[in-house]
């Protein structure tokens, strides 16, 4: 019953967008409750559909023709439904929180309109039944992030960050588009005879054709699609937009970093997992880029003082884990989709929580800089404790959600190594886990523990903001344990609905097929993540908490080159913006302009000067008086008409 209304999952937030943008100005709180209700209705619908399809492990598929050989459709399978549930739920929490957080902002109506559209675009991306539609919503997500990051457009830094987010992800999108076109062309060449209602770029059709497409083409397609995911999900080297994306309101950061946008890239790779699995080296690239990003971003998270920036790097790092989790599927097969998606879902809860807590702190304290905070827990009990819950799970404290999800990725990365696919992902992942625990608790201690380091405002946020925090905190702490096994099973078997034969694909992809014979991990490997997680927390406590034993200055000082590199974020901004964009690209543009003016147009002017060699006489005619031109034109027309008349009277031509 619910599944007949699946389109409303996207339809309602779009309706909310239209209503708030036109009527929001006249409504209390900018009509924000419309967006909240629409998103919550989406959650109810998704949950209803989940209850319908989960018991018998069914899927929902509806499709219609769009134009040419493309279609529009809805596909709700295990992979999609968990995303739908998460996005609608977390967005409901964030929008509710925003009712309090955005109070008093003159652009509130615009905020809730854009937030509604953002939610709609993400949901549309998730339930697409074909790659092109996914791309379309993918771009709309990009648009909304541009609008929301630049929400306070009067601030130059916000306008700049918005542009940066759009352009950097656009670089990835360009690759994504190229991948779609390459895939499309390869499928056209197959001359498939499609059954009624099937279209070329539908996932079912794609999965079916994988064995028919030449492997080298598969690799290119996989690399290009992954390029899109790298842009959207903030993987190295296109992660640079993400930390800047906090110029928008904190709720926007929460949406971008947790529920929507950045998870899209991971979702894409998960959705196209059979293709990556079949593509020689496709998964390896995902694994290495992901694991490297996890470590790389964690290093920068260590040194930032802006509370949101730490969280931003943490997002980049955790996304790296998710990618790595998919990448190590070379060893684990489709099981890894379950593992990675589980981390994605868990991360959405606790990262939304962390951002909203940070927002609550910033809202009260009035600064982003942790050096001016300290001791906030005394004044903001609820915020502090919920944030502690989020931090524990991010650090992978035993029995929290993050513990189950992240450690499973680390363990699968170990198996990936043990089965001879390379140890680097494991090494990166385990080191990053230590850094994660350290920077997370550095953040918590610096903010909430110790003494106040400046004279900030001291008040707790209103309950409309704290309510979502408490709910999210409960999920962040306790969702993992009861659902883990079922989740892996349910999502991991997603591709059985499409008859994907991973054994066959493994041959193309060049993987060993060793099912059942899972590597037996030594005991130390199993408990290492626990040791590292707890150890990291203790290290952070020793440096930054009230039980401080060491001073950070003992490890690093102002002049430390490593620290400088980290603070400068590996000079990527300088390379991308100052050198590549402003020197290379703009330089080419200026040279083009020169060529156009001097050479091409110059030639035109020269030719006209020569051919009208009697330039002097032309200049006399060219008196600039319009009437003269008019006369000339009329004369010409008259001559033409006379000629026609003569001709019609039988004068031979």
């Amino acid at each position: 019953m619910y599944q007949d209304y699946a389109y409303l999952i996207v339809g309602l937030p779009i309706l909310a967008f239209v209503l708030t943008i036109f009527l929001g100005w006249h409504l209390p709180k900018g009509g924000g409750f419309i967006t909240v209700l629409a998103t919550f209705a989406g959650f109810i619908l998704s949950f209803g559909i989940f209850k319908e399809i989960y018991p018998n492990d069914e899927i929902v598929h509806q499709s219609m023709h769009w134009f040419a050989s493309f279609n529009a459709g809805i596909l709700i399978d295990p992979l999609a439904i968990v995303m739908l549930l998460m996005v609608t739920f977390v967005c409901t929490m964030i929008h509710t929180y925003a009712l309090g957080y955005m109070e008093g902002d003159p652009g509130m109506a615009r905020y809730f309109a854009e937030a509604g559209l953002f939610t709609a675009a993400m949901l549309g991306l998730v339930f697409s039944d074909n790659l092109l539609q996914l791309f379309i919503f993918w771009e709309l997500v990009g648009l909304c992030s541009y609008l929301l990051i630049g929400f306070w457009y009067r601030k130059p830094s916000a306008a700049s960050a918005a542009k940066k987010a759009f352009l950097v992800t656009r670089v990835g999108d360009v690759m994504f588009l190229a991948g779609i076109i390459l895939l499309y062309t390869n499928m056209v060449k197959l001359n498939l005879v499609l059954p009624e209602g099937a279209y070329l770029l539908q996932f079912q059709t794609i999965y079916d054709s994988l064995t028919l497409i030449p492997p080298d083409q598969l690799t290119w397609i996989a690399v290009l699609l992954f390029g899109g995911a790298v842009g959207k999900s903030g993987q190295f080297p296109l992660h640079v937009w993400l930390p800047d994306a906090m110029e928008g309101p904190t709720t926007v950061s929460a949406m971008i970093h947790a529920a929507t946008m950045v998870t899209a890239g991971v979702y894409l790779v998960a959705r196209m997992f059979p293709l990556f699995y079949a593509a020689p080296n496709g998964l390896m690239i995902v694994a290495y880029v992901g694991a490297f990003t996890a470590l790389f971003a964690a290093t920068m998270g260590l040194v930032m003082f802006d509370i949101k920036r730490v969280l931003a790097y943490s997002t980049v790092s955790q996304l790296g884990y998710m990618m790595a989790g998919l990448g190590v599927g070379a060893a684990m097969g489709a099981f890894s989709v379950g593992v990675s998606m589980f981390h994605l879902i868990g991360h959405s809860f606790f990262k939304a929580l962390l951002f909203l807590c940070a927002g609550s702190v910033i809202h009260a304290v009035g600064t982003n800089d942790m050096r001016e905070m300290g001791g906030v827990l005394k004044h903001m009990k609820w915020t502090g404790l919920t944030m502690l819950a989020g931090s524990l799970t991010l650090a992978g404290f035993p029995l929290t959600t993050g513990f189950f999800s992240k450690d499973e990725i680390i363990v699968t990365a170990y198996e990936h190594g043990a089965m001879g696919f390379g140890w680097l992902p494991y090494v990166f992942a385990i080191v990053a886990a230590l850094l994660t625990a350290i920077y997370t608790f550095r953040l918590w201690f610096l903010t909430f523990d110790g003494e106040a380091r400046s004279d900030y405002h001291k008040h707790e946020s209103p309950w409309i903001m704290l309510g979502p925090l408490v709910i999210l905190a409960l999920f962040a702490l306790f969702m993992g344990m009861p659902t883990q096994e079922n989740f892996y099973h349910y999502v991991g078997n997603n591709f059985e609905h499409y008859g994907v034969d991973f054994d066959e694909l493994a041959v193309i992809g060049g993987h060993h097929v060793e099912h059942a014979a899972h590597v037996h991990e030594p005991f130390i490997i199993k408990i290492l993540p626990i040791i590292i997680g707890v150890g990291g927390i203790i290290i952070a406590a020793l440096f930054y908490s009230r039980w401080k034993r060491f001073d950070p200055g003992m490890v690093t000082s102002e002049g430390d080159p490593l620290r400088k590199i980290l603070l400068k974020r590996y000079y990527q901004n300088e390379i991308y913006t100052l050198w590549f964009a402003e020197k290379v690209v703009y330089g080419i543009a200026l040279v083009s302009n020169m060529i156009d003016l001097k050479i091409i147009d110059g030639t035109v002017n020269k030719i006209s000067a020569i051919s009208v060699g009697f330039g002097g006489s032309l200049r006399k005619i060219q008196t600039g008086v319009i009437q003269n031109y008019l006369t000339a034109v009329v004369l010409g027309l008259a001559v033409l008409l006379i000629l026609i008349q003569l001709a019609s009277m039988g004068v031979a031509i």
């Binding site: 023709h65 769009w66 134009f67 040419a68 092109l132 791309f135 379309i136 919503f137 771009e139 709309l140 648009l143 541009y146 630049g150 457009y153 009067r154 601030k155 130059p156 916000a158 306008a159 700049s160 918005a162 542009k163 759009f166 352009l167 656009r170 360009v174 588009l177 190229a178 779609i180 076109i181 390459l182 499309y184 062309t185 056209v188 060449k189 964009a581 690209v585 703009y586 080419i588 543009a589 200026l590 083009s592 302009n593 156009d596 091409i600 147009d601 035109v604 006209s608 060219q622 600039g624 319009i626 031109y629 008019l630 034109v633 026609i644 001709a647 019609s648 009277m649 039988g650 031509i653």
Partner: protein, 500 residues
Amino acid sequence: MIDNAISLMIAIPLIAAVVAFLNGKAAKYVALIGSLVPLAISLQMFQEFDKTSNAMQFVESYDWVPAIGVKYTVGVDGIGLPLILLSTIVSILVVVYSWGEEKRSNQFFALLLLNEVGVLGVFTALDFFLFYIFWEIVLIPMFFLIGIWGGPRKDYAAIKFFIYTHVASLIMLLSIFALYFSYRTPEGLRTFDMLTLLEATGDSAIFSPMLLNVIFIGLLFGFLVKMPAVPFHTWLPDAHVEAPTAGSVLLAALLLKMGGYGLFRIVMPMLPNVSTHYITLMAIIGVVSIVYGGFLALSQKDLKKMVAYSSVSHMGYVLLGAGALSVLSVQGAMFQQFSHGLITCVLFMSAGTIQHTAGTRIISELGGLADRMPKFAVLMMAGFMASLGLPGMCGFVAELSVLAGSYENLPIYVLITIFGGIAVTAGYHLWAMQKVMFGPILKKYLDLKDPHSYEILSMSILVLLIIYFGVQPATITDIMGVAAEPLVEPFIAVAATGVI
């Protein structure tokens, strides 16, 4: 359907033009009615058009100058109909946008109507002679729009526009004459009938390869200049910079489309009979236009000039799609014509509104306008997003069709376009948007406000159309697909026998 629908559609704006010219006071009302009626007729034609047929429909044919085989023949098929719709829609919206024009308003609105007469004639004429007359008629209103209502260098721009495109027209005319004098009907008569002559080009007994190639180059040149394609594009930025807003809109939205229309109507049917090297040539010119045009746009300081170069860049897709010779790519190229026609209107209207409210179009001198012009900012943003190819808007559908349809035959060109063109296109749009609209509002612009309602209205309608055709492209792409099939059919047949 009323008889002589097409003739009526062309005649009414012509009559209205005369009335408007003579009735100074009521000119804009006359212009509104005079462009509303063709719009109604074209919509009715669209309703009654047989969308599955390739044949010419609503054909009217009368002898005009029988002695030399000139006929008045008009008709529409899937190539022409979308452009007719585009012309009637854009024409009336330009009248609405220009509602406040006070300077010599009778002449102004008369010229807008005359322009509509010309383009509608070009898109319906099926006789080469008639085609050429309409083709030349279009030059006149544009010449005067630039020359009278233009900016400081209007004389240079008007003359350059006139001479450049006129030279191209004359070369095209020579080719038409060559066609005309080479062929006699079975009854031994000369004819200017377009379809007959184009069909005859397949007969190698009549046209030697040498002659045919010369004719072909002449025609192609005429259309490339009009589109305009690199390297024949330099008249365009000058014309745009000096033209009044209405002139720019018509120039970019309709006049450029005549070049593309010529490709589909005249060049492509001849392609199978001439050297296949031209396909490569068209693809190269298309890609160079896209990429080079994009970089040129990036380097501009004047907002309107940037938009002008973006036209060059976007029209490159038409050439690329036409050259790639697959149904999807040709259909996409046709849709790009339609879609660029709508989008570029919003862009030029934005540039025009900024010019007459803020007093300058120099990007670096503007800033923070969104603060005082929120409605306008939304519309301009929508136009810019459409122009950079955002899905959900028609530009994306067109470009996707061209790229996806072209990859099989022209993979390298498509890759160059994607990696060299798309990101740069996003770059200059966003950069301009940020500079002009965002950031703190500059002091001198503090008392700006949203433009007149008629400007907002015409831009809003365009944005709605852009979104509608982005979501429901099949409304019009189905017709284009049907029209594209016969154009690429000869090549598919050739490819199947393994000759290419």
